[in-house]
Assembly symmetry: D3
Homo-oligomer: 246 residues x 6
């Protein structure tokens, strides 16, 4: 996209989609950039689905990943810096006239900071609408219909399936290995942290999985990945359409 | 508590509970400090339930409430400042030897920032365990068994019930008034924001309820409040026990 | 106070009083929250004295107490964070229409930061009037008429007396113990720091008093406390009246 | 790259290359992401040239571009935020054991901030070596041998040539248009800012070129682009080899 | 002083004196830099008096002067930035081995920020001793013996007298003019702000004096200035001697 | 200058010159404040040359010098703090009506931060013009005509010459000593850092010169210093004239 097209897009495409990822361990078989790749691909699919009513803005390749720092290659921003980057992207877009920004994050570790940005923008930019969405959580119904381990999640069945569908060249299928797959394998503090309900305890991933994986990625299939992504894209696009019409 | 008792508590009471609230509109019938009062009272009940294994630390009376600023009396911190305060409380307690801090927040607007604090502490204080919990969300099963409006939430049935049980003198029952109670009353953008699922859109409360209330607080009963609080206290205390044993 | 009352108060009660305290050691006999309790109680008495022309805003329970960190239970904010909190309280109140904010601090460690906030607000909010006041320093004449030790101050005769009057249940009279009471007990660096004049040397309290107390709190009487508080309340209220009339 | 490969790379590939770009106008014919694309491609070529002794780290897609904000689509970070991101990338890599980081920036607007990061790291991480390099400036001799306009630079002959070589699909050759090409077209303040010597005056690009272009990109040839890039890659690789041997 | 002499001074001269000033209006007759000049000169006199046991460090020419911004030429730092500069001076000196830093401020507007720096350093640099002192306040007894106006202070009798003694070439005696000299001239809000006791109200100087002067500088004599400075120097030097011996 | 003169200067002297220096080692023979002294003197000469069309604003005595911290007496600001100070000087001057600020820096370590300030001001103060200039770099032609060592630079022939001309009392000619004078004396990493081209490696000076000097200051002559300064002053003044006329 050139600056000329951007100038047109301000009115023709009133929503800017920003893909947010992470550079963090995804077990022995998937790329560090997995979350970013998924966010980018979904952003493109959503934009296509919306037929020109949304454009894709600059990405956030690195996110908030302190819980993965024990694994080599993980790069993290503090929540303060990640928030500043998101805010300044939004401010730049705002200057050009956009009033709707949607961040699609492939990484759950970014969720809380995205919410804080949304909160602070209410005061500083009252006429800017800022939305954000995770990926897999939009397709919980699909995932629960899949054959997943008792313990599953990061780099597990659902995430691997998405990558097999979206970017199979970034999955080393021969290296995929099961991580923590059952509650029995978790020691008590890890179980408390894994639980996910409330109270919430944020834990380093090396304390809940030796290889950084939750679930068994070998069970992942490309078909499941397609099903997840199709639902995710549909639901985000449907949200954006309602948003534009609202 | 004096400094002498604090010195003893570092070993006898290895968990510090910090009650977090908000000073924000709670409709025509409830106090601005409603969230803080509930957090304080639940903290006391949890500490009592734990029989001395936890102490109550300094409160966070004001939280993150930019979405309520259109209503008089609301006081808010930016997410950055709220995070700094929480972090510095935790750092002070850490210096004295505590390694487990639990924030009980009566205000959902604080959730995201509490998570960002938990994330950043993983890097800066790897041996500090930082947990946090909301209140009402812990008793979703109880609330779903109550007679609530189609649209309900802030200052609605469940929150008012809790106050009738915990601090009835802070509820002006004669002034309680229904707010937005059905989806029909929400215009499209408000409906998108109220939805609560993903994608997430953070909205100012004055755009989703004229009097700041979601639901009909007149339906609230003290009994329902007691039931909610009992479950909340039990679940938090049970979490803390597991945490201490883990 | 509900949001409705807050809306009325913006015009009826043009001054907002913010009580500021500290959570810090107050010797073996007084609560960590002593300064906050005194500030809260005096704020209420001043508001009562002013008959509705002032309202009480959210408190600052924790203040700037690095000099007491060697004593268990002390919780401190950095001066930067404390300033940010005060500023954001003031900004929130400003949004609702208030133009006069008065902070009553029960803790001298907050004084300097309150002044820096006042200075910065001159530039950022030129039409906001921000005042602050300590407590005991307003009644120096009363204190000098009391039977105080040669060295006296923190948790000593005057402060204990105030607590005996305002919140006797928070004073363990049986545990009150003399701290440093004479200059002879101070080693040279401690004496330089205690001096209080200029040049000024800020020191950790554990270097000037083994139990954190300056003076002999056992000499404190409830009557002296009442006399101090009466004078303090009168002088603050008188200031506010002049301020409102100015 | 997976976390396993990253773990190996810490010793096998002791230099991490971070490509830094910008999202900013590049005239009517080139993509907003031009600088990022060039930095990414050169990083890959340098890494290839070094045969495994360097790895490519996460990119910095957005840089410091306030001078281009008048043109639609430009997204900028403040220098403070850009510096924070670079610093936190470096800190993450440092944790994993890397001690040499090289930023290759396709955007000259990032140069000053990269230098400030290098300066601050001297104090905070004395054993980390942080280097950075621009692109085109490394091939000044090649550019001066090209047929360039009197005024040339941003989105002009040399930059367009590089893109024709590295990413021809991102150049709309039919839309390429001359910008400011002679000093006569510059009004006095613009001439002072364009001068580039000292004293230095930083100016908004809309004051020195109506279409954001300096020079005539239609003169650019793929061959010139190849020549520039070859020299740039060679010189960076040669620097890294000396660095590794030093 | 060269780096060689600095290396010796770390042990020979264990106190570093930092002169802090302001660039702010000093009425029609005195230089903007008046406070800085006084601080520099007193620092030199104190160092001389101490016979080599103290060295003079880098100055802080600009301070915290938002209250004078209505008068042309005033330059101010925010309290946050002024604090950062002081802290970083202290940290640099600390690295070289100094453990005692004394700031002499010619400007009262810096006092509060200097105290906040002292407080924060207690936590971050527990073995650094940081003291600070004002000037005129050290000689209150001398000033009260002078012929001063009912209202006096900034750019008034005492300050002008000091300049007549220390830097007469910076006083335009022919332009000296009385400012606000009696309480009658102050309107009620100005009187409240001038009062100086507690509660404290910080006010812009243009609301309390039309020409920025408090008092009548024409009454100032060089002799009074000498008397003030002699006392100030003596008292600071005496403090430093005790400090070194403590 | 008094506030009255400042008020006149806003229109009569539309450029404010801010001299920026450093407090850092300048070898065994020159003062720590060398860069500040040169900046101050050149600022005065430029102002004189401009005959009243520029005024001198407050100085920046301390700059960005982390690379010299291994040498006693060096005081440094972080780039963030140095930038904040420059920005706040500029903001204060802006408030009084000035729209052109020129920083003359005697210290190359400040260059990058000055550029970042210029960049950020484009967004926050679009109608403020902010220029900056180094000293010696303006006279490269003169220096190259001097008899300089193969390796020369900091505290070397050109800088010493300037001081011999501008402030001979601050040069201990008897202590001047050669530092690193030939490339042979540099070990490989030092040579890479000294190179000055790109890629750029910022290094601590103690790794490239044992006494902190690059070149042989004993070769410096007062005449060379005069020639350098004359050219520098002329070029800066000429820039300012064009700027004022533009």
């Amino acid at each position: 996209m050139t600056t000329n097209e951007a100038a047109d897009a301000v009115t023709a495409s009133p929503v800017v989609i920003i893909p947010a990822g992470a550079v963090e361990q995804h077990g022995p078989g998937m790329a560090l950039a997995t979350d970013w790749v998924r966010a980018e691909r979904v952003a493109e699919l959503v934009a296509a689905e919306l037929g020109g009513r949304a454009v894709i803005g600059p990405p956030l390749p690195v996110g908030v990943s302190p819980h993965h720092l024990a694994f080599a290659g993980t790069v993290t921003l503090t929540t303060t810096t990640f928030a500043a980057v998101v805010r300044e992207y939004a401010q730049s877009l705002y200057r050009h006239g956009w009033r709707k920004v949607l961040v699609i994050t492939g990484h759950g570790g970014n969720n809380a900071t995205l919410t804080t940005v949304a909160q602070d923008l209410l005061t500083t930019h009252p006429d800017l609408r800022f939305a954000w969405t995770p990926l897999t959580a939009l397709a919980r119904d699909v995932v629960s219909g899949m054959r997943v381990s008792e313990v599953h999640g990061h780099s597990g069945e659902a995430e691997t399936a998405q990558m097999l569908h979206l970017a199979p060249h970034l999955v080393h299928t021969d290296r995929l290995a099961a991580g923590t797959t059952s509650l029995d394998e978790l020691d008590p503090p890890a179980r408390l942290a894994y639980d996910g309900g409330h109270p919430t305890l944020t834990a380093r991933y090396d304390t809940i999985s030796a290889n950084g994986v939750l679930g068994d990625p070998r069970r992942a299939t490309r078909d499941d990945g397609r099903r997840i992504i199709d639902v995710v894209v549909l639901r985000i696009a449907s949200f954006v359409r309602e948003w534009l019409d609202a």
